[in-house]
């Protein structure tokens, strides 16, 4: 059985600990469960890797480890680390065939158990250290992922470390970064992202460069934590420790006091410039489109690059059903659930389906109706509005079962009174494909919530339609009889 191949230990406190400490051990684990394809033939960094990786995402195929890259002997590329639920399950130390619901519950349980990082004085990520003029980003096989992208994206499966200078709070986030020159990168952490907000609030007004560290190829749960929809001020390094069951070993950067995972494959130490810009994008992004978001990013000066010997560049073949389809969706769903609970919404469960590209969420509630739907809509669009479609369903609908959700939407959502819309400016998701270029510029958009619940005022005895399904419209005694006989009475 596959579960036996994935070692999972419990320490003295009963906390689940996963066995791997880095990308290399995770690759080994995937090979043991049949979730890795090793590509030994030479492939080109210019589009070929991207095309293979894209197809793998769309087919939900195993992760890819490219061993020979044109122009780059000595470097390999590991692609789509957590783009299937099987690989997410393995990363968490669960059986590869675990259900999505089981993975959600496991993540939710561990998320509440923070474990601080452990500082070490050295680590594998320092095996090779290049500073200043020794640095040339073209020495790394950053791929051109899609035909027509703005550049070669080196930061796709990364975690970017930054610090709020006022509060001392450290942020880990996954943000895209493109090679611009030998020592220049442009990037697009959204202005509303945690990194973007700290940069605009604290560094730009003071005309100070902001130190960052772009970490590539840490252990997979570090990246999962970095991708999490987490509160401002939340410490993703501690979250990663909780997910792993042990503190992440971190080591100090060469050119700043930021701390990075010691077993990472590559660390790019840089500073975001407060007074200079470069072209960033366009880029085929996680919604599955290249929307034309271009030229409104940030420019970074690279000060040092450290890496392991024979470094493995980790890459997400960004687009439909990429790594965000699993991990960003899951952490986003749980963040929505917590937020709604804090506001007193009677939420039962939340699911963000991978096929919805982090734009659609299903919220199951124990009591629905227009007031609750409106409340959900307002809560989920008040700061950053990344979702554009919300389906509110009754608690008897399993939000993970999209067939049932579509049935509820088709039959219970009133086409006139069941559709609730909110519009906003300054906080819309500029990557949402249906927005015009003009809306993108103003960060203007909207979110629609479909109320697929029965009005709370309707009488159960006289008004609420009776569901004509096997488990609802027959006496329990008959249901038991039928199921006991295998449906052949």
């Amino acid at each position: 059985m596959i579960e036996q191949a994935v070692k999972r230990e419990k320490n003295a406190k009963g906390v689940t600990q996963v066995e791997w400490k880095d990308t290399r051990q995770f690759i080994d684990a995937l090979a043991r469960t049949g979730d890795l394809t090793v590509v030994e033939k030479e492939v080109h960094w210019d589009l070929e890797i991207g095309a293979i990786g894209r197809l793998a995402c769309e087919r939900q195929a195993p992760g890819l480890w490219f061993k020979r890259i044109t122009d780059y002997p000595g470097c390999t590329v590991f692609m789509n680390p957590l783009a299937t639920w099987r690989r997410v399950a393995i990363a968490l130390g669960l059986a590869a065939e675990s259900s999505v619901k089981k993975i959600y519950r496991e993540y939710e349980e561990r998320e509440g158990r923070l474990i601080p990082p452990v500082t070490v004085s050295d680590g594998p990520c320092k095996e090779i250290v290049k500073r200043a003029d020794q640095v040339d980003l073209f020495d790394l096989p950053a791929p051109m992922l899609h035909e027509g992208d703005g550049g070669r994206y080196i930061g796709t499966w990364d975690l970017v470390v930054s610090r709020d200078p006022a509060a001392g709070w450290v942020n880990w986030g996954i943000y895209r970064f493109m090679v611009y020159g030998a020592r220049r990168l442009t990037g697009f952490p959204r202005p509303t992202s945690h990194l973007g907000k700290v940069f605009l609030d604290h560094y730009v007004p003071a005309a100070r460069p902001m130190p960052i560290a772009i970490v590539i190829g840490a252990d997979p749960l570090c990246h999962l934590a970095a991708s999490a929809t987490y509160r401002l001020g939340g410490d993703e390094a501690m979250l990663a420790g909780g997910l792993r069951g042990s503190g992440v070993e971190v080591v100090r950067c060469e050119t700043s006091d930021l701390m990075v995972p010691a077993t990472a494959e590559i660390v790019i130490e840089a500073e975001v410039l407060p007074d200079a810009v470069g072209l960033e994008g366009p880029y085929g992004e996680y919604p599955g489109y290249r929307t034309g978001e271009m030229g409104n990013g940030i420019l970074c000066r690279v000060k040092a690059v450290t890496h392991r010997r024979d470094p493995i560049l980790t890459i997400d073949a960004t687009g439909y059903m990429d790594d965000s389809a699993t991990i960003t969706s899951m952490s986003g769903a749980l963040a929505i659930k917590r937020r709604l609970e804090r506001h007193g919404v009677p939420v039962v469960d939340v699911y963000v389906p991978p096929e919805g590209a982090v734009h659609a969420a299903v919220v199951a509630v124990s009591r629905g109706g227009p007031e609750v739907t409106r409340q959900i809509l307002e809560i989920l669009t008040s700061r950053r509005a990344l979702l554009s479609k919300i389906f509110v369903v009754d608690g008897d609908v399993d939000p993970f079962d999209l067939g049932r959700v579509l049935h509820a939407f088709a039959t219970k959502c009133h086409p006139v009174t069941g559709v609730h819309v909110v519009q906003y400016t300054g906080r819309a998701n500029t990557l949402t494909p249906c927005y015009s270029q003009e809306e993108r510029k103003r960060q203007a958009g909207g979110t629609v919530a479909f109320d697929c619940t029965w009005p709370p005022g309707w009488s159960r005895e006289w008004e609420v339609p009776v569901k004509a399904t096997f488990d609802s419209i027959f006496p329990e005694i008959l249901q038991r009889k039928v199921t006991a006989s295998g449906g052949e009475t």
Binding site: D71, R184, L273, G295, G297, L299
Partner: protein, 108 residues
């Protein structure tokens, strides 16, 4: 008769056709399409461009892509006049093309 000079190939991204002004010095962000490790290296330049390559006999080839990354059918010609700084003075998250125009006007 061939001059023997190898025409280099560049590519640029523009927000709209109005940015492709001919017979004038205009600021552009271009990238180098020469194969090899440094392919796609970016440059900020002031250049003259033409949709009729024969009018810029000593020019290079320029491909144009739109804001959504679609490459236009025909190649243009480009003659690079001067370099602009790679660190373009400007405000983060604001339009890079505005910064580019300012850099040209400031005479970098």
């Amino acid at each position: 008769m061939s001059s023997g000079r190898i025409r280099q190939i560049w590519e640029t991204f523009v927000r709209g056709p109005e940015q492709l002004k001919e017979d004038a010095e205009i600021p552009l962000i271009i990238r180098d399409l020469t194969p090899g490790r440094k392919k796609y290296r970016m440059r900020h330049v002031v250049a003259v461009i033409s949709r009729r390559p024969e009018t810029l006999s000593d020019g290079d080839t320029l491909w144009v892509r739109t804001t959504v990354g679609v490459r236009l059918d025909s190649a243009w010609a480009i003659k690079i006049v001067r370099e602009l700084p790679l660190d373009l003075p400007g405000v983060p998250y604001r339009d890079v093309y505005e910064a580019l125009r300012k850099a040209q006007k400031m005479g970098f």
